[in-house]
Symmetry: none
Subunit: 209 residues, 4 copies
DNA sequence: AATGAATGAGAGTTCATTCAT
DNA sequence: CATGAATGAACTCTCATTCAT
């Protein structure tokens, strides 16, 4: 029962319906992880879910809604996991360390999901050709890092950052984390803890006064 | 005059034929830059090149060969530009700085081409579902950075790196550079020199003893 | 309680069941009036009726039966309304006038229903591709007009008609009435009385001795 | 080579391309005549044309364009045939007679095409649910009849008509002609000449002073 | 008596590829 | 050399129908 069929808002989706959608989302993630964004057709997703293609159309208005749901579920789970850990820290330096560590741990535990969202981030476009999640990504993912940097600078723990240089720093940190996801999916035999320690080292050095 | 039509090796391609292929490659880059990998059909490429789709099939055995040619031309141009500059440096520290600077300059001057190759790197897959350029990318792009790091370590200029940690460092540097390309394509108003300086600062701090 | 579920004849349909079917028929008419025959899916009908698609399948053996029911209810209501009025007239001329007037009045009062039946008449086909209601339409709708014409001819009030020319006359009259329905649905600002008078004028002139 | 692929205007379509489109239009007409509007899928059309569905998509941007082409070709042929005959007449009475006769002759010679256009007229809708050809039909088909009526009235040959009553008259005449097409398609054994004479009789009586 | 879930066929459309000219 | 034409498979999406609950 897609939004199209139920024009009321999402809150009215039944518990069972939510669960069914989540199951399909799970298979969609699986499919993207296995075949990549451009080969992940509804047919392939349905095949993995062992249902007919029609089932997906029944639960989602269209493919776009399904793909967006992947991102929505991701952001919710990601924030629920990382934000409390980061906010529990006292100093910006600790916050940065925990940001990196919690993110890598989250990635490790949700490899396929994170990979799928990265694929969507770089491939899913709106009708006018623009990347669908560009803006959301900036606001949800980059801003928190920039805030930590600003805080550390104000407290005199981090070096000076202009608005521009803070953005470069944030991008570099985020790219390093996403890069770990890609490596994981390639079956590189990386140890999370090790990778985590390395990134912490790199960015503590890069930010300290 | 595709490989299919001329089963002899590439050296036999006439000068004119090479030029024609290069022109088509140029439009393919243009198309990927504009529409992204998954919307870049042969039809769209042909449209931009103002030729029929058949022309592309005539000059390339199939779509894959065309896309691979984009990467081949990229690697040649990239190496021709960056390698001499890097090798002209005396110390590993200078080499790292010039690696970053020359790469960002190259990206700036070849935005669309670099962007296209990044798209291919994360999307183009072989029949068995594996990323087509994964191995080449490691050997061509990551190894040189790792070599600089090893050299700097041996000379006592850089801190200690294990094989694993050097790989993490190299990946982080490379991801930072590719991230600049993405930002450029998004029309972020970044200044190359400024971005370059920031990355140099970050990675000099991250590598120094 | 479809025919399929109750293989006995229709007379056994309970009062409640009949009412339920009538409600669904009403929404089917609504839907055809709004979207036209080819867009009037069971889903759209169910949506307007605020029930699930399954309900329709429960009460009707299949879509065809539902659509036929629209026509059945129409013919019953149409005959109940027009026949007494026409038969109350003494002369064929009066009968023809009242035929036109009562039909236009009926159309005006049942715009959507009449429109839906016209849509069905020209679109609903049997498995072998023939129009489903062609024969019924001839016998139920055209014959009465032809009878009036024959009567008027026998009484020396109307001009001579052969079997063929009476059929042409009947068709022309009927097409004029159906045409009024179409115009009404297009929101043409026609006055029923005016349209009625015009048609009476036209066909009194066309039939008189 | 559809309009979509060739964004230049229609005048640039080659002679061969025009011919090919016309052939496909011919099969589309055939299909609508046989199956009716709502069963006339691209698959059925392609089947009759003995080509793949892709061929139709190659020559027409979409199904809508193909269907519109049916109407375009119809209007051109219809006007080319009927207009000169009608304009050659001296009196409005003769014009009306020739209008009916030439239209019925045209219908007889182009049964399937005319039938297809009638189907499109009553079924093809725009995205907002309105009948696609309603306005064109009024202007192209009804107006000329109204003009004849007005002329006849001014010359004192026809009875008085208000704007509204002229429209009713025009609609009635047109519906009678379209009705003939439907009868022909039903294989009714009507003689064109006879049907023609009947309609002329009806409408000469209906219009005369 | 009704529903929500699922199906599978078929719709229109896109696209890489082939090939006669 | 290049084209226009055609193919056929795969795509997303719609829909009438079935059925367990």
């Amino acid at each position: 029962m897609s939004i199209k069929n139920k024009p009321t808002n999402q809150k009215e989706l039944s518990f069972i319906e939510k669960a069914r959608r989540s199951q399909i989302v799970e298979y969609a993630i699986e499919t993207i992880a296995e075949l990549g964004y451009s080969q992940a057709s509804l047919g392939q997703i349905a095949k993995r879910a062992k249902v007919s293609k029609g089932v997906i159309s029944y639960h989602f208005a269209n493919k776009e809604e399904l793909l967006e749901q992947i991102a929505i579920e991701y952001y919710l789970a990601w924030q629920a996991y990382t934000t409390p850990l980061i906010e529990a820290q006292k100093s910006p330096k600790e916050m940065l360390r925990v940001y990196i560590e919690s993110n890598l741990k989250f990635v490790y535990k949700n490899q396929k999901h994170v990979f799928a969202v990265i694929e969507l981030g770089s491939n899913l476009r709106t009708a006018d050709g623009k990347l669908r999640f560009a803006k959301e990504h900036d606001e949800t993912v980059l801003l928190p890092i920039e805030n930590i940097l600003t805080l550390g600078m104000q407290e005199g723990i981090f070096r000076e950052f202009t608005k521009q240089s803070a953005r470069v720093m944030a991008l570099t940190i985020r790219n390093a984390i996403d890069g770990f996801t890609i490596e994981l999916m390639r079956n590189s035999q990386f140890d999370v803890q090790e990778y985590s320690n390395e990134l912490v080292t790199i960015f503590e050095r890069a930010t300290k006064k």
